[in-house]
Subunit: 452 residues, 2 copies
């Protein structure tokens, strides 16, 4: 089937990430979309500049309007940022019958109503998953995944810069200015950080979230906005002492009298998952009448996380314009002819770490014998902890122990964490271990994953 | 536009929840779907039995095959559970050209390959969001939201019963049998709990997740399965001491040599969000190459959470068979003509709780004067904490304090948490407070939300 031709407006951080992801995962992406997605033209500020990402096969132009007017282009991806040129370009693309994918939150929050009106009239899609919370598929989740629900409220950490600053103040005891400087040094905050720390960025995103959650037009001007600049370390510490953490929050809520839309630093209870979302990470908690509370967590910014959403929107558009409506999304995510026959590992072949608990006779040389077995099997021990025999918590293990006459019968518990090893290898060591006379045969073994 | 006619196979817990949600949120759901969704017929075991949910306008039959053969029905919702009859009914529905929505994980995990083959041939949709993790839109998120990514691994707490039992053992120090009995008493575990605690249920779900994540056919027989029955309180305590928590995990991972699919109790590091998912809640952590780590959290079972996914699938099918492909999903989730003009509250109208920090002169009667202001304003105080003046953490607040001659100049810090009140009301109290002579004018006020 014919490839879908994409025109890219802007090849900065997100544009470069988008090209990189489309290229690296080309096979998987076309197996999901059912067609090849090909970037054929890109608008850049300086066509002569060398770039870290390859522009092979992509025609360059300095004029975004050349792309939105090109009859060979099916989908325009707008990554210019800003409002004026982006708005003109998107409106022209739509009016020319092109589908649009954008990561521009200001554009959608401020001009979305106009843009969608044009798109509706012209019968094209305008997709904007990347405009809110970077790589988290929150627009899709609310708009489609929670379509059955009346949404009561949502609360989100939707500005990574602000979350990073407050997290650092707490983690390192630094003051606001110190944490901001650190964020700037790491590229998490702009040289002029106002847009993030004053709450404007979060307010753009909250505008969009509230609209899809409550079914209301976009209305940025109605959002109450307060930044994080007045938060001091003192209050972070007192809040913690009282069982709370201070997070930069965007809140949208239905009440009997009307809707609340507000962005401000907020104390939230520590046991709440949202209170544990740190650094530049984003998360959105959604309360809805049927499903209850759901949470969506991930990277809220960055080249490839944002590109992940841009490309997901591209795949959505391609699926919608290509496939029979009856087969919009392949059941198992990939086109049926393209399901892979990947080899599947048995449990003996997997690699994992282990927690072990053994009861052993408290005699000289026992620990050495145990650790030798692991050494011989090339298994590294991460932690070894020796405990007196637990009297209350696990009485049944005592009755299972083997009494031996004529020797010290005092038993101790040893807890060990291993580093990663192959399960087959570990099983062999475990067998040798259980054959040691001093080791009880009720060895507990639980797999351990660091999930990183 | 003509209503879409739905036939329901099974009106148990999830079936009842589905009818309830479709009825309660009928307006919102049709504003999202673009058409009315109407359940016209239901197959039940006993057509004479009284039900807690109204069956008005729904024809009843004891024969599921009457529904799958009914030419007036567009979509069949299969909520029978089990394998044999469900499989026959779904295959017949598909062969008759009907779209199918199912919550049946065993059916999809064990017979999905056959069912999807039929569906592909016949050009109909078979949707199964409700089969994995209840109300969490995880199928949609992986299949569509992460379509740009090569997925590296996923790890999920996908059996609420097992998670509840391990959580209770840890929280209450109970043994396995005690926690199981408690789960049974609360309806979180079946009278025969084997299916859940032996890991079979999680393995069904992992089979489905792995398939959509990696683009492989469903292959339940290749999953390594170990239940939670061998976990003792002793090991939960030791694991905690070492910085880990034991969670019932389903893991699917790509390695250089092949795929791992395994279900077993696993130690995971405490700071990991997944380690903090307790009780019957589910969560799935997905690692993908472009987006990095994302997490999806919510209720994994229950009538309405599962119904939330069933109805979302219904809306998806209706959108796909109804709308121009170009307009598959309304931009702002609701059909454009149906966007609401809900009143928006100003920040003065909202209700919230507050954290306050004041520096006051340490003189008799000051605290009484302060609390009187709140009492007069009908604001309840949740916590009042008096602190010596913080010397190190917030030196700038000292320099701002007003020296007064001839009186005690010793200052103390008071931290207060209020209960919820209207912001306008609070602002008035705050103003009165700042007019007290003994109170410094640098009062800190941060909003507090319990998010529950």
């Amino acid at each position: 089937m014919k490839a879908v031709n994409v025109g890219l407006l802007g090849v900065g951080t997100v544009g470069g990430g988008t090209l990189e992801v489309l290229r690296r995962n080309a096979d998987e992406i076309s197996a999901r979309a059912g067609r090849t997605i090909r970037v054929v033209k890109a608008a850049v500020r300086d066509v002569t500049r060398a770039r870290s990402v390859s522009m092979d096969g992509i025609a360059l132009t300095a004029d975004p309007f050349e792309i939105v007017g090109d009859p060979g282009i099916d989908i325009v991806v707008e990554l210019l940022g800003g409002e004026d040129i982006a708005k003109q370009a998107v409106l022209q693309a739509v009016d020319n019958g092109k589908h649009v994918v954008t990561a521009n939150k200001a554009l959608i929050a401020l001009h979305g109503n106009t843009i969608f009106e044009h798109a509706q009239r012209r019968g094209v899609m305008v997709a904007f998953e990347a405009a809110v919370a970077g790589g988290i598929p929150i627009i899709k989740s609310i708009r489609e995944g929670l379509a059955a629900n009346r949404i009561e409220w949502l609360a989100g950490i939707i500005n990574g810069t602000s979350n990073y600053i407050l997290s650092m103040m707490e983690a390192e005891g630094s003051d606001f200015d110190g944490a901001l400087k650190q964020a700037q040094a790491l590229g998490y905050a702009e040289a002029d950080p106002q847009f993030d720390i004053a709450g404007t960025d979060a307010a753009h995103k909250l505008t969009i979230l509230a609209s899809i959650a409550f079914g209301i037009p976009l209305q940025f001007e109605r959002v109450y906005v307060q930044g994080i600049t007045a938060i001091t370390l003192t209050d972070i510490i007192y809040a913690r002492e009282l069982g709370y953490r201070i997070k930069p929050l965007g809140l949208a809520r239905r009440t009997a009298e009307g809707l609340e839309l507000r962005v401000h630093p907020t104390l939230i209870p520590q046991p709440c998952l949202l209170a544990n979302v740190d650094g530049v990470m984003n998360a959105i908690l959604v309360r809805a009448d049927a499903v209850g509370t759901t949470l969506y967590y991930g990277a809220g910014a960055g080249a490839e996380p944002t590109a992940s959403s841009v490309v997901a929107d591209l795949v959505d558009v391609v699926r919608a314009i290509t496939t029979d409506p009856e087969n919009r999304v392949p059941h198992l995510a990939f086109q049926p002819g393209l399901l892979a026959a990947a080899p599947m590992l048995s449990i003996e072949q997997i690699e994992t770490a282990y927690y072990m608990r053994l009861n052993v006779l408290n005699r000289p040389g026992v620990l050495a014998a145990i650790t030798k077995i692991f050494g011989d099997s090339d298994i590294s021990l991460e932690t070894v902890l020796q405990k007196g025999f637990p009297k209350d918590s696990d009485p049944e293990s005592r009755s299972r122990s083997r009494p031996e006459h004529g020797k010290s019968n005092q038993r101790v518990t040893i807890i060990m964490l291993t580093q990663k090893t192959r399960e087959r290898n570990f099983s062999v060591a475990l067998k040798k271990l259980s054959q040691l006379e001093a080791v009880d045969d009720n060895i507990v073994r639980i797999r351990l994953e660091n999930l990183s």
